[in-house]
Symmetry: C2
Subunit: 365 residues, 2 copies
């Protein structure tokens, strides 16, 4: 298989459809893909202080060689910078550079960069084009697909944002070779999520290829990222604005977000928190009769075997309850939980008795 | 004609279509209209320190009587508060109040309130519903129709924003009785704009009813606001995202925005600046052979007769040029001017030689 030739899938959203390109060492394709997407002669690359030194000069070089003028902005790295103030900073930079409606943005980095650059692109001049070049496993399989953009608020994650689809996404799995192990494993948690609630055969594949995945085998990573994006695209196509099915993607996220909020986004990566949330979700699923305890154990085992933690940090029940109640998925008093039906299916379960759920998760009074 | 019974037009935008209701003393209809629009039991009213004391308690009362829980936020009054910091403040308030995705916002006030509340609604939880209750003539005929929302940046007006359509608009012309004369005349400038570039018969009507308009006759105001909204709706339906025809609504705005920016939004109301810009635009139109000097004079005469200024403030050519070049309507070096074809028609005119245009407008070297 000639991987560097790349493969492509399409996220089908009518007039907002866009392609996701997969390959190894394919950053050089950027100018051609930009032309194919109808993007003009001026790009602003937004990245962070960690990813920038690794890939920004390469991206600048290929774009400039392709006849595209560029400017680059390096933001500080970290979820704590994902707030409205940084959006203001991106917009200040765009205006300093004389950006206009035909200028397009490149989000070069992980999920935080993608969410912020996408949101800045959504609101700058009421919307300019942007492309995603995700460089983390998490961003490649999750946050770069679906058009959700936004920033955090002290009260919770992603409370401010917009739906804004990229013109295309370029997934170069070679960029994963420089990813720190913790970041990589966090991304793996989201990969697992797709298997658990959407595709049992894919979950089998992950179990069988666990060694290659942990070794970051490029061929395996191409299969992995592509299947995740196919699954996410399928969900997003059916429910772009998160009015129904798209909620499945929040599997493990109710408690995951609570853990992140309770630890002020400092102790765990998003994926690590989601892994804990997924283990808890399997327990709740078993409690509701959606899966067997053996299936719940199968999920827990692969999480632990890959080096991720399965236990929720020891905050009090009150703290968890408050963190969950602040989450935006609460709709006038009823919380909708995503449960796994066996392995490979899901059910949306409205819940009013949060204490009973916390009991099942082993969160004491 | 039973005006209090109200009349209604529809802005046809597919799934985002919404009605505009017109009448005299019709604030009491709010709960019924909210129910018809499918809006739930919780509303947050956002207004300012000028409009709030006049109408907020009435709005709160009718909503609460209609079974809708309310909370109100009073913002400081003025264009200088139309920035991202105030959006943050609105969102802080929404979260303090425990707002969720079913909470809807009420923009009670003029264009600044409407633009900010609409933008906050667009980005809070990636989009919640909002309704417009415009209380200025400008907002009733212009800013409450079309879904443009946003805030200013030190570099220029409305550089940050989103397209977000309201669920409905309630135009109560009785609220215009408390409007200061300058604000009222500024709104009248935008009324004139519709006649000049979209409807010559409407321009005739305005000329013939100038006395009733200046006296704020309610019957005349109902005709006036309704016709302006019909014309704007027609334009927006054809070009929701401002990719073509919608530019006609910027007639008089290129120089108008420049005047506002040069005077730091302090010396003139938006409408006053647009009035000067329109007089300049008629001169440029005459220069390009789009209208006669008699037609240009007819526009200038009604502007002066209503008490609006027709002369641009004496900044240097360099200052005007720089202000125009910063305006977001510049696309890679070419400026598109909106000219009037006679009275009642328009032409979009690409211009590269800005100095020649400034000459025609009497702006010296």
């Amino acid at each position: 298989m000639d991987t560097t030739a790349g493969s492509v899938i399409t996220v089908g959203l009518g007039g907002r459809s866009y392609p996701i390109h997969f390959g190894v060492d394919i950053l050089g394709n950027l100018p051609r893909l930009a032309r194919e997407a109808g993007l003009g002669g001026r790009a602003v690359i937004v990245t962070n202080e960690t990813v920038g030194p690794l890939y920004c000069s390469a991206v600048v070089e290929v774009l400039e060689q392709g006849g595209i003028r560029t400017a680059s902005l390096l933001l500080p790295d970290g979820e704590e910078h994902k707030h409205l103030g940084t959006i203001q900073r991106i917009i200040d930079f765009l205006l300093e550079q004389g950006a206009d409606r035909r200028t397009w943005l490149v989000a070069l980095g992980g999920g935080v960069i993608g969410d912020m650059v996408g949101f800045a692109a959504a609101v700058f001049l009421r919307g300019v084009p942007f492309v995603q070049v995700p460089t983390t496993l998490l961003a490649q399989v999750d946050s770069s697909v679906g058009g959700k953009t936004g920033v955090n608020h002290p009260s919770g994650k992603n409370l401010i944002g917009a739906f804004h689809q990229p013109r295309f996404v370029l997934v170069d799995v070679a960029t994963l070779m420089t990813l720190p192990e913790r970041e990589y494993l966090g991304g793996f948690a989201e990969v697992l999520k797709y298997g658990i609630v959407l595709d049992g055969t894919f979950f089998d594949y992950i179990e069988e290829h666990q060694r290659q995945i942990l070794d970051r085998d490029r061929e395996t990573l191409l299969q992995l990222t592509r299947r995740c994006c196919e699954l996410k695209a399928m969900v997003v196509e059916r429910d772009e604005r998160e009015e129904g099915m798209r909620a499945v993607l929040n599997y493990g996220h109710t408690l995951g977000h609570a853990v992140e909020a309770l630890t002020a986004y400092r102790s765990y990566t998003h994926g690590e928190a989601v892994a804990m949330g997924m283990v808890a979700a399997t327990r709740v699923s078993a409690h509701f009769g959606c899966c067997s305890t053996a299936e719940a154990e199968r999920v827990r085992r692969i999480i632990v075997a890959s080096g991720l933690a399965d236990r929720l940090p020891p905050f009090s029940r009150d703290e968890y309850r408050r963190a969950i109640l602040k989450d935006k998925k609460m709709k006038e008093g009823a919380l909708t939980l995503v449960l796994n039906e066996g392995i490979g299916g899901f059910r949306l379960q409205p819940v009013t008795d949060i204490d009973a759920i916390l009991d099942v998760c082993g969160i004491g009074g």
